[in-house]
């Protein structure tokens, strides 16, 4: 016809509310999958390792010291630590917080099991974050440096846990992290399509619950062990390694002279009388 101008189509540009999918654009997929992966592979794997390592606590200060020494004497341990623990953790935590704040939880209206888990995953993530910050500060970046003085690991932890509040913090941190990790495995499988069916997801749910309970039990066991053990004095039970590149050989002999530290981790000047280390009876 041509004589009449075409009519403008309805205008959708100024839409309020949720925007349509940006098909194929942006990088959030990659970031989200990295978040997911980091949760499992370096961090989750580390958590398992860490909890099992900490179980050495049960065998007393020397055993624990050996374990800490062993870990710290792995080749390129500082590089490994940053590459496989701190950076992934930083990313997972940072992006995790970003994810968590963008969700709009509604369990108050829809108190359904899956929805609760969704909220708990976020809450436990945040708890884990707070726990890890304080944990790293007190155990890794302040006080006596355990990589340099692995022999003091038991004492350092026990000293920290001599404060009942800290025990509570550790227990909560442990429960939250283990929950977060075990449900995280379930989530991972659901989202990556490893368990597409309802049945598969239910069965995996049993498995990850059992896994989480066991993991958490082991963690709590070491906490209980160190809290209930008699206080050890602040003496190094094994010598500090000379430097980072020290061979991963754990000496079998204990040096009788040990450096003592005060509660702030400051070395106490050596007394004239040499002190003897008396091993604690094992539980």
């Amino acid at each position: 016809m041509g004589s009449v101008a075409g009519v403008a189509p309805p205008d959708n540009a100024h839409r309020k509310g949720v925007k349509p999918l940006r098909a194929g654009q942006g990088h959030s997929f990659l970031l989200r999958k990295l978040h997911s992966l980091t949760g499992i592979v370096p961090i989750g794997a580390f958590l398992i390792e860490h909890i099992i390592s900490n179980l050495e606590i049960v065998h007393g200060p020397v055993a624990y010291a050996k374990q800490v020494l062993f870990l710290n004497s792995l080749p390129l341990v500082r590089v490994l630590e940053w590459a496989f623990i701190f950076i992934p953790l930083l990313f997972h935590a940072g992006y995790g917080v970003f994810i968590a704040v963008r969700g709009r939880s509604n369990v108050n209206v829809y108190p359904l099991a899956g929805n609760w888990m969704y909220v708990m995953q976020r809450v436990s993530g945040i708890i884990a974050l707070l726990y890890i910050i304080q944990h790293l500060w007190f155990q890794r970046f302040s006080g006596v440096s355990l990589p340099e003085h692995p022999g003091l690991a038991y004492w350092k932890v026990q000293y920290e846990l001599s404060n009942p509040w800290m025990v509570a913090v550790y227990v909560i941190g442990m429960v939250a992290t283990c929950f977060h990790f075990s449900y995280g495995i379930w989530l991972f499988c659901a989202k990556w399509g490893i368990t597409p069916g309802d049945d598969a997801r239910r069965k995996l749910g049993y498995a990850t619950t059992a896994f989480g309970v066991i993991l958490c039990g082991l963690g709590l066991w070491s906490i209980a062990a160190i809290v209930s053990a008699p206080m050890v004095p602040a003496v190094e039970v094994i010598p500090a390694p000379a430097d980072d590149s020290a061979p991963a050989v754990v000496p079998t002999y204990q040096v009788p002279t040990v450096q003592q530290y005060d509660s702030n981790g400051q070395p106490i000047p050596q007394s004239a009388v040499p002190q003897q280390y008396a091993p604690q009876p094992q539980q």
Partner: protein, 592 residues
């Protein structure tokens, strides 16, 4: 003449979307108007299936038999040529739908599965679970969305068609429509328009139809000079679930899969249905129609149920209800084939039809009549086409189950290309083609309606209309009642002038939009009632006990209603029916 014809399609049900697809495919530009988002059109409600004689069950079915069943089922009132064309295209249409990804049920070999429906002896109905209409509508909607993303189709969802723009030579040049959010009234130019606005169940108050099935658009066009044909033919579905706001359909597929209709033999039998022994159950359809059994055509089943309840007084607990029983069929079969419709019953009634028989009663269901169209789907106004339930073709005096979806797609497939051809040969309009004048006319109407200081509530008027129409113009009709109904409608039209809108706002004013539709419903109701009154015979869905026989001599004719502005009433004339292919014969389903 511009190179790209611009066509407006009004209505985004199956008929509208089919037309849009054909036009977009042929390179035309389409503006698609719909009150509701097209995916929410009434076509989505269809449950049972769609017919096509593919003969995949080795029963010797073919398109000629489908043709014959349709004409015979429609009591010979349908023009036969379009029916012949439609049934011939049936198999290709099913194939097309299949290719579009409609999840039709399958045989173990991976072929299309077919079920039996009313009015035929063949397994001729393809189905996708119990949501065939939804699946078809979505499939077409998806195709149209694809064209939309390619810029060939522009959708105007949430716009209501008010009237056609007709130039001084009587040629349609576009439409006048209203945005239901901003209430803005605007005209849109087009070389041709296709009306696919569905049925008019809302005229009867409660029906199995959707809320927007008011027939308002058809009525507006009728008032602008289009013929409205066979208005009196309204199908009342035998099995609907009585409800507060609507009658929810219990699809014929419940009977197709072996559902049985019965009442207790003893009047007012107090026993729970399940405990009533076979001998005390009256399977009245099976006894009277041994060959078709529960699958007799709808008009017959409806009248039999009506008789059982009102003449023999055998309704359950004395209520207007009979049993529709599928509880003898094993769960697995039900789940696979008709789970969807059983869920509807369970959801809305709160009883499990796997366990207890359903209680059902007939409900207004389908509009056989509609805008008069020629064999190219064009109305008597040049440039206005119509398709789907909105037109009068194909089904004659009674529609067979699962034929409607087919007729909608067929109608759209004819109307689309025909409108293109028409548009290509259309001489340019002179002046503005009547756009400005039409817009002024509609705005004035709106202003009057909004400013009216009356006392009548439009929704109450509508309820009265519904009651009147249901009482006098459905299953059984008497001339006295029809006259009474017509007088009542005139009274309602009078009271309409005294309407008062409590809501005078200019934003998403639903009661205002409804009031506009109500006026059109009232006008169309008169067409139905007067057509019925004048047709002194019984044919298909139209049944008068005072004239129990079909009268071919006098009434083998299409009713043609034209609006007379002076008397503000329909003028009814008749047109010969095209019976060139099949000689009319008596329609009996009792014997073989």
């Amino acid at each position: 003449m511009a190179t790209t014809p611009r066509i407006i399609v009004v209505g985004g049900g199956l008929a509208g979307l089919s037309a849009v697809m054909k036009i977009a495919e042929a390179g035309g530009k389409v503006d698609l108007f719909s009150i509701v988002p097209v995916k929410r059109s009434h076509s989505v409600c269809a449950q049972g299936g769609i017919n096509a004689a593919k003969n995949l069950k080795g029963e010797g079915d073919n398109v000629d038999k489908h043709f014959d069943d349709t004409v015979y089922g429609g009591d010979f009132l349908a023009n036969q040529t379009p029916v012949k064309n439609m049934t011939a295209q049936g198999p290709a249409i099913i194939d097309l739908l299949d290719r579009m990804g409609v999840p039709f049920n399958r045989t173990p070999e991976g072929l299309l599965d077919f079920r039996r429906f009313g009015g035929t002896l063949y397994h001729r109905t393809a189905f996708a679970g119990a949501t065939t209409g939804q699946q078809l509508l979505y499939a077409l909607d998806e195709q149209v969305r694809r064209y939309e993303s390619e810029g060939k189709v522009t959708k105007y969802e949430g716009w209501e068609f008010l009237s056609a723009v007709i130039d001084s030579t009587g040629v349609c040049r576009g439409i006048c429509a209203m945005d239901l959010r901003t209430m803005e009234v605007r005209t849109f130019p087009a070389d041709a328009i296709i009306i696919c606005t569905g049925g008019n169940g809302a005229i009867f108050g409660k029906s199995t139809n959707s809320v927007v099935c008011t027939g308002s658009a058809q009525s507006a066009l009728y008032q602008q000079g289009a013929y409205y044909s066979n208005g009196e033919f309204i199908q009342v579905h035998p099995t609907a679930i009585p409800g507060e706001d609507k009658l929810r359909l219990m699809s014929e597929s419940a009977r197709g899969e072996g559902g049985r209709v019965w009442v207790p033999r003893k009047k007012g039998d107090p026993r729970p249905a399940k405990t009533i022994p076979e001998a005390d159950r009256y399977y009245f359809l099976e006894e009277k129609y041994p060959k078709y059994g529960n699958l007799v055509p709808r008009d017959i089943a409806t009248r039999e149920i009506h008789k059982i309840v009102y003449e023999q007084d055998l309704g359950i607990d004395g209520q207007p209800m009979v049993y529709l029983d599928v509880s003898h069929i094993d769960r697995a079969t039900l789940e696979k084939k008709i789970e969807g419709i059983l869920e509807i019953y369970e959801k809305f009634v709160g009883e499990d039809p796997h366990e207890v028989p359903m209680k059902i009663f007939p409900g207004v269901h389908y509009t056989m009549g509609g805008l008069w169209v020629d064999f190219n789907q064009q109305t008597n106004i040049p440039g206005i086409f119509a398709a789907g339930e909105a037109d009068y073709s194909i089904h004659g005096a009674n529609r067979l189950g699962a034929n409607s979806l087919l007729s909608c797609i067929y109608g759209g497939f004819v109307a689309g290309p025909q409108a293109m051809t028409y548009a290509k040969n259309l001489p340019a309009q002179t002046g503005d083609g009547g756009h400005a004048a039409e817009k002024v006319r509609q705005m004035e109407y709106n202003n009057i309606l909004l400013q009216n200081q009356g006392t009548e509530n439009p929704f109450k008027l509508w309820r009265e209309l519904g009651d009147t129409m249901t009482r006098h113009a459905t299953i059984v009709r008497y001339n006295a009642g029809l006259k009474e109904a017509d007088a009542k409608i005139v009274e309602l039209l009078e009271r309409y002038r005294n309407i008062n809108l409590t809501d005078k706002s200019q934003w998403a004013n639903t009661s205002f939009a409804f009031s506009r539709q109500l006026y059109n419903m009232l006008q169309l109701a008169r067409v139905i009632v007067q057509g019925a009154e004048k047709r002194d015979e019984s044919r298909g869905a139209h049944y008068k006990p005072d004239f129990p026989d079909r009268n071919d001599e006098q009434f083998l004719k299409s009713t043609m209603a034209a609006y007379d502005a002076k008397s503000d009433a329909p003028v009814i004339t008749y047109e010969e029916v095209d019976t060139q292919w099949i000689k009319p014969r008596p329609r009996v389903y009792t014997s073989s």
